[in-house]
C-alpha cells in the first residue's frame, strides 16, 4: 500500500471520529435538541470504519463480502434519515406539530421498505438506491427550509449558529451525494475502479464536511438554565 492510501484511510476514519468524540465530551452540557446529531455522528463513525476496512481490503487486493457491507450501509442510511428528521423536528421545522413529523418518519420508513421489498425483490444485500436519493433530497429540502427560517430568527452571526453549520454540512454532503448516487442509478454496470474513483471524490469532500460538523459541535449552545417551580 502507498503512503497516500494510508493517509486516505486514516482521514476517512478520523474525520467523523473527531466531532463524535467532541460531541460525547460535551454531551451533558449540550442542549438536548442536538442529541440526534451526536447519534448521527456515532452512526457515521461506524459506517466510515466499515467502509475504510472495505477500502483497505481493496488496496490489499483482498475480497470483501460486499453483501454484508451493503446491509450495514442500508441500515445506516435508514437510521440517519430518521435521526435527521428527529433533529429537524426538535429545531421546530414542523412548528411543533406532531402529525406531519410522524408522517415524514413513516414515509421514510415505508420508502426504505418499499425499495427493499418491491424494487430489490426482498434482497437485503442490494443497495436501496431509490431510498438514498429520496432521503438525501428530503434532507436537503429540510436544510434549506431551516436556513430560510434562521435568516429572520437568528439574532447573531449565522456562522456561530450550530444548526446553520449542520445544514451547511448537509447541503455540501447530500447535493454531491445525490449527483453521485444518480450516476450509479443510471449506469449500474460500472467497474470497481470507477466505483472507487467516484468514492474517492466523496472521500475528499468528507473531511471538509466533518470539519464543518466539528465547528458546529463546538458552537452547540449549552443547556438552558430554566428554573423549576419547586
Amino acid at each position: 500500500m502507498e503512503i497516500s492510501q494510508h493517509i486516505t484511510l486514516l482521514i476517512s476514519i478520523l474525520a467523523p471520529l473527531v466531532p463524535f468524540l467532541l460531541g460525547l465530551y460535551r454531551y451533558k452540557k449540550t442542549d438536548g435538541s442536538y442529541y440526534p446529531f451526536i447519534a448521527v455522528l456515532g452512526c457515521a463513525v461506524l459506517s466510515e470504519t466499515y467502509r475504510t476496512i472495505q477500502l483497505y481490503n481493496y488496496y490489499q487486493g483482498l475480497n470483501w463480502p460486499v453483501g454484508i457491507s451493503t446491509i450495514g450501509y442500508n441500515l445506516y442510511v435508514l437510521a440517519i434519515g430518521l435521526l435527521y428528521t428527529i433533529l429537524f423536528y426538535k429545531w421546530g421545522l414542523f412548528e411543533n406539530k406532531t402529525r406531519p413529523y410522524y408522517l415524514v418518519l413513516i414515509i421514510l420508513s415505508l420508502a426504505w421498505v418499499f425499495d427493499h421489498l418491491i424494487i430489490n425483490g426482498n434482497r437485503i444485500s442490494s443497495p436501496t438506491k431509490y431510498y438514498r436519493l429520496f432521503y438525501s433530497l428530503l434532507l436537503c429540502l429540510f436544510a434549506i427550509s431551516h436556513i430560510n427560517k434562521l435568516i429572520v430568527s437568528e439574532k447573531h452571526s449565522l456562522l456561530r449558529n450550530a444548526s446553520f453549520l449542520i445544514c451547511l454540512g448537509l447541503l455540501f454532503f447530500f447535493v454531491p451525494y445525490i449527483i453521485i448516487e444518480g450516476v450509479f442509478l443510471f449506469s449500474p454496470k460500472t467497474s470497481p475502479d470507477f466505483y472507487i474513483s467516484v468514492y474517492q471524490i466523496r472521500g475528499r469532500f468528507n473531511p471538509l464536511i466533518y470539519l464543518i460538523f466539528t465547528v458546529a459541535i463546538l458552537w452547540i449552545p449549552p443547556k438552558k438554565p430554566f428554573i423549576q417551580l419547586s
Binding site: E95, S157, V175, I180, S191, I201, P225, F226, L229
Partner: protein
C-alpha cells in the same frame, strides 16, 4: 476505467465543481443577507422601543408635574368654598373633593405604571418586588421573587427588564390560568439571567401563528433583542411555561 467510464467520471467532476460553486455562492449570499436584515431590524426595534419609552416618560412627567398640581389646586379651592349654609351644596363639595382625591390617586398610579419612580431611584429588584407585591395583593396569583442582583445595571436595561417582567406576569394572569409563578433574577458569567416558571396550562402548539397571543411573545423577543440578549421559552400543554432571558452585562 474504460473510455466511457472516464467520460462519465470527467462529466461528474465538472458537474460537482459547478454545483459546489453554486452552493458556496448561495451560502455566502444568505450570510450577507442575514447580516443586513439583522442590522436593519435591530435598528428598527431599537428606534420603536426608544420612542415608546420616551413617550411614556413624557406622559408620566406631564401627568405628575402639570396635571397633578392643577388638580391639587382645584381641590384646595373647592375646600375653601363658603359652604356654611350646609345642606345639598356642602354634600356636593365633599363629593367633588373625594372625586378629585380619586382622580389624583388614579393619575399617580398611571404615572407610576408609565415609569415607576422606584425603578429610577432604587433599581430593578426593588421595582420588580414592588410590582409583584401589588400583583400578589390584588390577584389570586402567588408570585415568588428571588434576586441575586446586587448592583445597578443601567437604567435602559433596567427599564427593558422591568417591562419584560411586567409582560410575563400579565401573560400569566391573562392566558396561563396559573396559581403560582416564580421569578428569579441572577447574575452569571457576565450575564443577567431572568428566569420564570408557572404552573399554568402552557402555551398552545400554534402560538406563533396566533396573532393576538403571539404579540406578547414578540414584545418579549424585541426587548431582549434590543439588549443583545437571548430569549428562550419552554412550554408543554398542561405543564406550565418557563421563560429564560439572558442579557449581556457589557
Amino acid at each position: 476505467m474504460d473510455t466511457s467510464e472516464k467520460a462519465i467520471y470527467s462529466a461528474l467532476l465538472i458537474a460537482l465543481g459547478i454545483v459546489g460553486i453554486i452552493l458556496l455562492y448561495f451560502i455566502i449570499s444568505i450570510i450577507r443577507q442575514q447580516r443586513r436584515y439583522r442590522e436593519v431590524s435591530l435598528a428598527k426595534i431599537n428606534a420603536e422601543i426608544t420612542t415608546l419609552e420616551n413617550e411614556r416618560k413624557r406622559i408620566a412627567s406631564d401627568l405628575h408635574d402639570e396635571v397633578g398640581p392643577l388638580l391639587s389646586a382645584v381641590k384646595l379651592q373647592i375646600n375653601h368654598l363658603d359652604i356654611s349654609a350646609g345642606g345639598q351644596q356642602k354634600e356636593l363639595v365633599e363629593k367633588s373633593s373625594l372625586y378629585i382625591d380619586d382622580v389624583i390617586k388614579k393619575m399617580r398610579e398611571i404615572s407610576n405604571d408609565l415609569l415607576p419612580n422606584i425603578l429610577v431611584r432604587r433599581g430593578l429588584p426593588a421595582a420588580a418586588e414592588d410590582f409583584i407585591s401589588k400583583v400578589t395583593h390584588s390577584t389570586p396569583l402567588q408570585v415568588t421573587f428571588e434576586n441575586d442582583l446586587k448592583e445597578r445595571i443601567g437604567l435602559e436595561k433596567e427599564v427593558n427588564l422591568y417591562r419584560i417582567i411586567q409582560e410575563v406576569v400579565h401573560n400569566t394572569l391573562k392566558h396561563a390560568k396559573a396559581s403560582r409563578l416564580k421569578i428569579r433574577i441572577s447574575q452569571q458569567d457576565g450575564m443577567i439571567v431572568v428566569a420564570t416558571a408557572d404552573d399554568g396550562v402552557g402555551l398552545p402548539e400554534n402560538i406563533h401563528q396566533r396573532k393576538e397571543a403571539g404579540l406578547g411573545l414578540l414584545n418579549l423577543q424585541s426587548r431582549t433583542d434590543v439588549m443583545g440578549g437571548e430569549f428562550n421559552c419552554k412550554s408543554a400543554p398542561g405543564k406550565g411555561t418557563s421563560y429564560l432571558f439572558e442579557i449581556p452585562l457589557a
